[in-house]
């Protein structure tokens, strides 16, 4: 089967929605919302098509596409094959999984955005632009293209937070912009050093060039420079992930951005950090990465415990979830630090699983806020009475998050820790405390919302209804599916894992 332009179509199909939206009258609320959701569907269909045709046995390499895009340095450079930047898209197993995750969450978040109260037109146009950026990040095959898409996610997010957020939205938007701007700046330095000195920005070629002795390069890259570049990458993606102490911006975003955007942010954008670390950090600098493994594991344990302890004392449910995200990203780091098959697989599983779980939880936050206009734990309470279904789903989400067997959270945490226990048992034992803390803080928060006495009477609050069913059911379905049948994930990931492990030499 031929797949020319397949990925381009997948990545850029939301553009059609943007163009159509531009011609919609501003006041046609329901039309804009419908179109906004519809515009995310082509990507979803194509992503699922790719996934199933892969499961049906077709080769992912068939999806690759490549065109000459920019040639720096003139004919001389072109003849020597240097400084060419191609427009090249492609996916491996990891990319495929992330693309499917992105497409699913984007569609669901578009549905969740029905709760948005004003200026739907601008909102959905930015939303679709954000989706293009995210899909592009996971399919870009060279660093410059990756960076381009990476920044495309930055700008719509700035506006989405700053315009449609809550009380301190502008501050949150700035904090997002500056932290991520710094992260991207560091990333750009790494990319440009690699590109200028090797003459290529293709990820696969870089992997080969940097790990072969005496490979042809434009200018030499010393071992210490490689280490420096990896540390810079760690900082760049550490802002995104986020790694303690680079996390403060992300708390603000979680609290101030509209819940539908937090679904995207927590579900996908944070994961770009993990994706980048695995794809570039581990992929391009395997030797140096191995040297940093202990550091990563330690950072992971710190993230896990720090997030868990602070989540325990929060009074706002959104803050609980924000710290919970930090804590869960610690597990990704732990898995990466273990640097063996189980660990890395656990890390990637955690990326996907947390993406789904946090999307679910933040969707429910949106549902709650829509009806009660508060997310403070003290003001909520006894919700199980008025909204039994929503409360039930909330509990289900929390269970998945704390790692109840049979749900996706369990698989990922189990594997990440399995990996770490093999390599660093003491550290793993300390980290395991975090798992217990997770159960404590999540149950505390969820129980405070669903049971207990209500501070205020919420008269006539309705339960989950109409369009709200779709995100809840799809997300819970996927969480359980991964929990009971992890092969849906592990099979596509197998090839990627093998490449990575081969690079590390394990």
């Amino acid at each position: 089967m031929e797949f020319n332009y397949f990925l381009s179509l997948l990545v850029f199909s939301p553009l059609l929605g943007i163009l159509l939206l531009a011609f919609m009258p501003k006041t046609n609320e329901s039309g804009i919302k419908m179109l906004g959701v519809l515009a995310t569907l082509p990507s979803l269909v194509l992503a699922l098509l790719a996934y199933f045709s892969y499961r049906g046995g077709s080769d992912l390499a068939n999806f690759s596409e490549k065109f000459r895009w920019i040639q720096f340095g003139g004919q001389g450079a072109e003849q020597s094959g240097m400084f060419t930047v191609n427009y090249e898209l492609g996916i491996d197993g990891f990319g495929l999984v992330m693309v499917v995750l992105t497409a699913v969450i984007a569609t669901l978040a578009a549905i969740a955005s029905f709760h948005i109260k004003k200026e739907w037109k601008g909102y959905y146009m930015l939303f679709l632009l954000l989706e293009i950026g995210m899909l592009g990040v996971f399919t870009a095959q060279n660093l410059i293209l990756f960076f381009l898409f990476f920044e495309i996610t930055l700008i719509p997010m700035f506006f989405l937070i700053g315009k449609w957020g809550y009380y301190e939205k502008e501050k949150a938007a700035y904090s997002f912009l500056i932290y991520n701007g710094l992260g991207s700046a560091v990333l750009l330095i790494v990319i440009m050093v690699l590109f200028s000195r090797t003459g290529t920005s293709n990820i696969d070629m870089l992997r080969v060039i940097l790990n072969t002795e005496n490979a042809p390069m434009f200018a030499p890259i010393s071992e210490s420079l490689k280490m420096g570049l990896l540390v810079a990458l760690l900082v760049a993606f550490g802002v995104k992930l986020p790694i303690f102490p680079l996390h403060s911006w992300m708390l603000r975003v979680h609290v101030e951005a509209p819940p539908s955007i937090v679904m995207i942010h927590s579900g996908i954008l944070l994961k770009i950090g993990a994706f980048g670390l695995i794809r570039f950090g581990m992929g391009i600098f395997p030797e140096q990465f191995a040297d940093l493994a202990v550091l990563l594991a330690v950072l992971g344990v710190i993230n896990l415990l720090y997030g868990a302890f602070l989540a325990f004392i929060q009074t706002d449910f959104k803050m609980v979830l924000a710290y919970s995200s930090i804590s869960h990203m610690g597990i990704v780091l732990i898995g990466l630090g273990a640097l063996n098959e189980a660990g890395i697989q656990g890390a990637i599983f955690q990326v996907v699983s947390h993406g789904l779980i946090s999307a679910l939880l933040f969707f429910l936050v949106g549902v709650l806020y829509e009806r009660t206009h508060t997310t403070t734990l003290a003001n909520l309470g006894g919700m199980a009475k008025g909204m039994p279904l929503a409360s039930g789903f909330l509990l289900a989400g929390a269970m998945a998050s704390l790692g109840l067997p049979g749900m996706s959270g369990f698989v990922s945490e189990f594997m990440a820790f399995l990996g770490l226990f093999e390599e660093m048992p003491v550290l793993a034992a300390v980290g395991a405390l975090g798992i217990i803390m997770t159960a404590v803080y999540l149950l505390r928060a969820v129980l405070a919302i669903t049971y207990g006495k209500a501070e205020r009477e919420f008269v006539g609050v309705s339960d989950i209804r109409s369009f709200e069913w779709a995100p809840v059911l799809v997300l819970i379905g996927l969480i359980v599916l991964i929990g009971v049948y992890p092969a849906v994930l592990s099979e596509p990931l197998q090839a990627t894992l093998e490449t990575i492990l081969m690079g590390i030499g394990g």
Partner: protein
Amino acid sequence: MDLETLLSFDWGTMTPEFIILGFIAILSVADLFMPKHVDRKILGWVGFAGVVLALASLVSLIGTDTTSILYDTFRLDSFAIAFKLILLLGAALVMLLAIDYKHNDGLEDNKGEFFYLFLSAVLGTMFMASSGDLITLFVGLELLSIPSYILAGMRKRNMKSNESAMKYVLNGGISSAITLFGMSYVFGIAGTTNLKGIATVFGGLTDPQHIYILGLAFFMIFVGLSFKLASAPFHMWAPDVYEGAPTPVTAFLGAVSKTAGFVIILRILLSIFGYVPVAQEDGQPIPLLFAMQDYIAFLAGATMIIGNVIALRQRNIKRLFAYSSIAHAGYILVALTAMSFITFDAIWFYLLAYVLMNLGAFAIIQVITMKNGSEDISHFAGLYRRSPLLAVGMGIFILSLAGIPGTAGFIGKLNIFMGALMVDQAHYVLVSIMIATTVVSYFYYFGIMTQMFFRPASSEEKIQLPMGTLVVILVTAVGTILFGIMPNLAIDFLHTNFNQFMDFMR
């Protein structure tokens, strides 16, 4: 010089200059004899036609062999054509802005003069691009400067405009004097003012005394010329002059005059100081220019830091753009510092992008400030509601100025980074400063965004756009995006037609 020699020169190479000169003559005579009540706008359109005609004749000259006439004082090489293209493009756009500019501070009485003074300045820049002799370079420089001084003070009854002109004259005079002083050393040692002749003499210099003096000359010429670039240490004039001058003049100073500054710096530095041997390495002489890299790097770093940091505090939009333009001069100096084989590409492309995005931004600034009679940044509040086209246009220009991918500004920065990082002694510090200050610039650039998109408008009145301004905004916006997404259009054009400026010194 008899008539025969005079006729033997290939005057065709000077066609664009003659066209501009002819239009200056026509405009000044017409202005003199036209009755008072006739709107001088018509002169503006004639002038615009002149610039376009000159541009067309310049395009027809692309591909002609390098020729020099008038005893090597006037050269038409690929460097001259390439940079004159940018100069004339910028001039045409500024002309359109000037036609639509209305102000009641005394400018109305002399609107005719405005146009032909402006053309004279353009003529000066063109001679600078084409000259092969210190004398013509300096005459070109003054031909640019003197009309600029007058133009800055065109709003006769406005205090700030007067102040602006005065400051500009004083600073300009001092800097010209310093430049000339530096040139006098060069002439003293070489015994000729011809650039090629100077290069020949300097190539054979061995006396360390002479080289020491030339180091001094380099220092002076560079400092003197930094006035035109508005880079440190001669940047202080920019904010006051930008603020006081009529907006089209500010746009001209920021875009065209700055481009001319880089043209003359490249001409002088490369063709004179690129030939002074200061030391030997592996039998190859190291030119003075390379030995001075640290000095240029220091000034570039200082310029970027000063521009971007002080811009943070500005409330006046024109002052803000003055500091922003100082910062951009710093970025381009980074390219000049590195001296790799893509330096010319990088500077040319960046200037092209800069002329487009800066003139686009000034077109919008002109509309807004004319409407409100004040230049406070708060007048941008709610622009999105009042005129979505202006807001989106300004958004594009700001993203490009901030170097966000998808715009020409990003590709320009990419080029500069590449040059600075690919040389053996990579300029890591300088690149880090450049990227860090770029992130700092997000603060003030996105401050304008916040005003335009987040803040409510003080009035709901729609904004009407004059025809010429609309054209400027559309052309620059399309160019900014086009060269951002398909930069190869410009880069390939450069390489196919100008062959890397191989004939620069021949």
